[in-house]
Amino acid sequence: MAASGEEVKLLGVWPSPYVIKVKIALELKGVRYEYLEQEIWENKSELLLKSNPVYKKVPVLIHNDRPVCESAIILQYIDEVWAGARPSILPSDPYERAIARFWAGYFEDTWFYGAIKILQVKTEKEKAEAIEQSFAGLSLLEETYEKSFKGKPFFGGDNIGYLDIALGSFLGWVKTIEKMSGLKLIDGAKFPLLATWAERFCSVATVKEHIPKTDKMIEYCSKVLQPKWHALNN
């Protein structure tokens, strides 16, 4: 629990999977915080600009007036500050930690940007390439689950951990891409372990309320994001 006199603020935007990661981590650790929804396109708040002058992006965690930026770094910070609150987010073994960091980094830096291209690209050829790449990535993940995590309900073991949060926070977006493109990405026939893991993750109490409803995401994507992508492409 956050001790009295501790002040925790989270600057975020509701559709961001990076923000969702932090919300889940804070809830997992039982940390009480004030959530401040931000404007990220125009009119960025003074607080955001002051707290993240380098990137001017969300999420930003502000702990007793000290800002921490970048979701992966924030998650590790939360785990280390509230180390007493169980469960641990990162594994205790250094090798397992390195593996968790690697896959989390791959998924959010590489896989997700590839998958979102399915909605962004103009030609059928580009779309097919983006789909193929996304399947290739999921294949690698499924293999990893089989090799290193089989028999466990989550990547973190019995409880959700760093890698579950890092991957799972993108599930809202995965469902959005699936619905908007008419394509099943985490297909149970192709990726049985990942598909059951995804269902299990989304039913966890600390997770459920933080994954936005797909309809709301589709609306956000079509009304806000797609016009911005088209503007950039033209």
Partner: protein, 217 residues
């Protein structure tokens, strides 16, 4: 078993790992990879990215240079500690090392690969990046304070590329960011850095080879 490093001599990412291992006094087998013909071991150890560096510890591969450096700091949990113990003091170096990762290599590549307006844009960006880092360094000896640390390890290999950036894009890092040049000189006094970094002229030779390969004048 033991420690094996799959690497390529000129790679600043590989150099981060070499420096970290040297700082910790870890003995390891260095394997120079031919990136034009990647070994089966590399492809098996890093099937996702197929890139170096890869640290193989007792048969277990660790990929991505900053992840490897943190792994080294965790496993060889002895002095010098590359990351401090306090959570907030760990978050800051992680942020800046990640910043170096996101910005320097990509911008530097544009500096030697492009010409004209695009190169001028990259030059402007590189100077901004270095100025931001100089501000973060302040008047500390190292980014880690009195102790050589995570951000120093992340950034120092790129200092042997400054000469190449300067030659290709026509500017002086020393003129724009003397603090960074002074910091680089301090780092070069450390055995681990001195033994790992190549002469900037040798790196420039390599960049010229790359330019020829990509058909850049």
């Amino acid at each position: 078993m033991g420690v094996k490093l799959l690497d390529a001599w000129v790679s600043p990412f590989g150099q981060r790992v070499r420096i970290a291992l040297a700082e910790k006094g870890v003995e390891y087998e260095y394997v120079e990879e031919n990136l034009a013909e990647k070994s089966r071991l590399l492809l098996e150890s890093n099937p996702v990215h197929k890139k170096i560096p890869v640290l193989i510890h007792d048969g277990n591969p660790v990929c991505e240079s900053l992840i490897i450096v943190e792994y080294i700091d965790d496993v060889w949990d002895k002095k010098p500690h590359l990351l401090p113990a306090h959570p907030y003091l760990r978050a800051q170096p992680r942020f800046w090392a990640d910043f170096v990762d996101k910005k320097i290599y990509e911008c530097g590549t544009r500096l030697w690969k492009l010409k004209g307006e695009e190169q001028a844009e990259a030059k402007k960006e590189m100077i901004e990046i270095l100025k931001l880092l100089a501000a973060e360094l302040g008047d500390k000896t190292y980014f880690g304070g009195d102790a050589f640390g995570f951000v120093d390890v992340a950034l120092v290999p790129f200092t042997s590329w400054f000469y190449s950036y300067e030659r290709c894009a026509g500017f002086s890092v020393e003129a724009e960011c003397p603090e960074i040049v002074a910091w680089a000189k301090r780092c070069m006094e450390r055995e681990s850095v001195k033994k790992t970094l190549y002469d900037p002229e040798k790196v420039y030779e390599f960049v010229c080879f790359l330019k020829k390969r990509y058909g850049v004048e």
